[in-house]
């Protein structure tokens, strides 16, 4: 069981690196639409999710779905548990969002700032932000 989980995580890590490579190498020719599809695959690999499990554009909810899947808790319960502890007020899903953005910064060589982060509420906004940062990097 543990072996299976470990293998799955390693595989999804490889998958995410694959999409980083695709995006970075094809950066100059990628349309926003194609970039969005590839970035969705990247995010799914990072979040250990399948694309069909993403049923919302709300990025915080996507983080929540991922966190709940990881914790194998029913929908809605994970944040309640986190909020109850209230240490600083951060939820697991919120931390997941930030860790994800820090990974994006590191793996794509860009700088999504705290000011950018706080403005990102949806996956669409996230893609717009990253796409723009990659374009700026290219210039």
């Amino acid at each position: 069981m543990r072996k299976t989980i470990k293998e799955k995580i390693l595989q999804q890590k490889k998958d995410s690196q694959f999409y980083v490579k695709m995006i970075c190498e094809g950066q100059s020719s990628l349309s926003r639409e194609v970039f969005g599809r590839l970035f969705l695959q990247y995010m799914c690999a990072k979040f250990l999710l399948e694309p069909e499990e993403i049923t919302t554009d709300n990025f915080y909810e996507i983080c929540q779905i991922s966190a709940e899947k990881a914790a194998k808790r029913p929908h809605g319960e994970l944040d309640a548990a986190e909020a109850a502890s209230k240490c600083g007020g951060a939820t697991t899903a919120m931390n997941k969002k930030i860790l994800f953005l820090l990974a994006v910064n590191r793996e794509y060589g860009i700088n999504v700032t705290a000011e950018d982060s706080v403005r990102i509420d949806t996956f669409t906004q996230l893609c717009d932000c990253i796409y723009q940062k990659l374009e700026e990097k290219q210039v």
């Binding site: 209230k86 240490c87 600083g88 007020g89 951060a90 919120m94 931390n95 969002k97 930030i98 860790l99 953005l101 820090l102 990974a103 910064n105 700032t113 705290a114 000011e115 982060s117 706080v118």
Partner: protein, 507 residues
């Protein structure tokens, strides 16, 4: 309509403050732990910004929907793990001193910042969240500074409503129409011992005004001819005022279920309500009380053919606290209850029912036997011919009413509400004590009503209390008139007591 600056329109300015702890280095230790990436400064910058956003949108969003609460732009104060804030950050807070009525802090390890700020600038602060609230309140309370602990959102709302009520009381100025002295009337001996002490304690001001001057001003277009102020151009009603009197009277007549009062007698009573507003605008007042038996004994009300009952009903509905019998204490209790609950209080003589068999004592007050008397001893009544249509709330649908004369002769319009329709509903009653050091608050369940079809002061509500004797002996230290509203507001009044620094006595 005259421009009366009502206390129910007073807003409480609330400042949310988030202290963001940004660690300068990544390290683990007894107070922080986690994967390396979650310990970096970059992580903290994003994490704290996210929490601030969530807090101000969620918590602040909920508070901003509370009537009378005005949220100032939330403040984000950065603090490093050296646990101090720079002068620039402190200035953000200082800029809001004088603008905010309360500063609500949250954030990790911000208690010291909050403490220092409260002690330096003497501003009320509250801690939100489990650690901040408990620590901060213990620290500041012990040092004699004003502070509050907030448990959750309902607790915060209760606190803010109480603080808003305190501010509203401090903006209250009572037009007190008196005959013989400024502190109490013949019918309202259970008054504040010192009105000046009330001003010191609550910030309430009093504008004393002659009963005779008031009655002279009821005479239309006779400016300069008043016996009490000869040659002085004062505030007598005018033709324009009378247009309003007639329109308002017609509206009240048309809206009544039954009307036993002749048109000109209704207008006589409405004239008083318009003159009160005119004088309130002139003197900057927003609450009212006038003598009753003392005025009655002058025989001038018999001459003018009106009573103040209708004015009390109408003004209380408008959010202008209006109390019978020059009861300044009761009037301020109305003001407090109205502001705290958003409802128009009804104030009457509040007494336990006493009976043997079916013989009820005090039938002169209009009360009598009700079947509940066979079931329980714990029956009280509250009665005056001054009910109003908004005891359930200023925003509620107006209760149906009838108009009856106060006097046998037919003059003195009064509003009558049939309280029996509210059987089973909870009411809350409150009153300050004569020293202005305590508040009594009590709860009851409506059993029925009396006086809906009659004349005189015999209109009111029967209600059941937990223990009649306990209630009575506690109330006897506070006074006769206990303003009431529908609903259970015991906890709200307890919070008001906390905010005003008053002991709260419950029954």
């Amino acid at each position: 309509m005259y421009d009366v600056k009502k206390s129910i329109d007073v807003e409480l300015n609330v400042q949310l403050v988030y202290t963001a702890l940004i660690h300068e280095y990544a390290y683990e230790g007894p107070c922080r732990f986690g994967p390396p990436e979650a310990l970096t400064q970059e992580f903290d910058l994003m994490n704290q910004a996210e929490i601030f956003k969530m807090w101000t949108q969620g918590y602040g969003g909920a508070l901003s929907h509370i009537p009378g609460i005005h949220l100032l732009d939330p403040l984000y104060i950065k603090m490093s793990d050296e646990f101090f804030i720079t002068e620039e950050e402190e200035q953000k807070l200082v800029d809001r001193v004088g603008k905010a009525d309360i500063f609500i802090f949250t954030g990790m390890r911000g208690e010291g910042i909050m403490k220092e700020f409260a002690m330096r600038y003497h501003v009320p602060v509250a801690g939100e969240g489990m650690f901040a609230s408990t620590i901060e309140h213990a620290v500041l309370n012990a040092r004699g500074y004003e502070s509050y602990a907030i448990l959750d959102l309902p607790d915060a709302i209760r606190l803010l409503k109480a603080l808003r009520t305190r501010k509203a009381l401090a903006r209250t100025k009572v037009l007190g129409v008196t005959r013989n002295n400024s502190h109490y009337s013949m019918g309202g001996q259970d008054a504040f011992i010192s009105n000046d002490m009330v001003t010191k304690k609550l910030g309430v001001r009093f504008n004393y005004f002659s009963f005779h001057e008031f009655l002279d001003m009821m005479h239309v277009n006779e400016h300069g001819k008043n016996h009490t102020l000869p040659g002085r151009q004062v505030y007598n009603l005018t033709d324009k005022d009378m247009e309003e009197v007639k329109a308002w009277s017609k509206e009240l007549t048309d809206g009544s279920v039954e009307n036993d009062v002749q048109e000109h007698y209704i207008e006589n009573s409405v004239k008083a309500a318009v003159l009160i507003q005119k004088l309130c605008e002139h003197f900057g007042c927003n609450a009212f009380t006038a003598v009753c038996p003392d005025g009655c004994a002058t025989r001038r009300m018999n001459e003018e053919q009106f009573t103040f009952c209708f004015s009390h009903s109408l003004l209380n509905e408008m959010g202008i606290p209006s109390g019978c019998e020059y009861d300044l204490l009761g009037t301020l209790s109305i003001a407090a209850l109205a502001n705290l609950t958003g409802k128009a209080p009804y104030m009457g003589n509040t007494q336990p029912c006493i009976w043997r068999g079916k013989q009820v004592e005090g039938e002169f007050a209009g009360i009598g036997y009700i079947e509940d008397m066979d079931r329980t001893q714990n029956i009280y009544y509250s009665g005056h011919a001054t009910p109003n249509r908004l005891i359930h709330g200023f925003d509620s649908e107006k209760t149906a009413y009838s108009l009856r004369p106060f006097t046998h002769s037919g003059w003195g319009a009064t509003m009558r509400i049939d309280f029996s329709q509210f059987r089973g509903e909870t009411i809350t009653l409150m009153r300050f004590d004569p020293l202005c050091e305590k508040i009594m608050v009590a709860k009851g369940t409506v059993l029925g009503g009396f006086g809906y079809t009659t004349t005189g002061c015999s209109e009111g509500v029967y209600f059941e209390v937990a223990d009649k004797y306990e209630y009575f002996h506690k109330q006897a230290k506070f006074g006769l008139h206990m303003p009431l509203v529908f609903g259970d507001h015991i906890e709200d009044v307890k919070m008001l007591g906390e905010v005003l620094g008053m002991e709260v006595v419950t029954a």
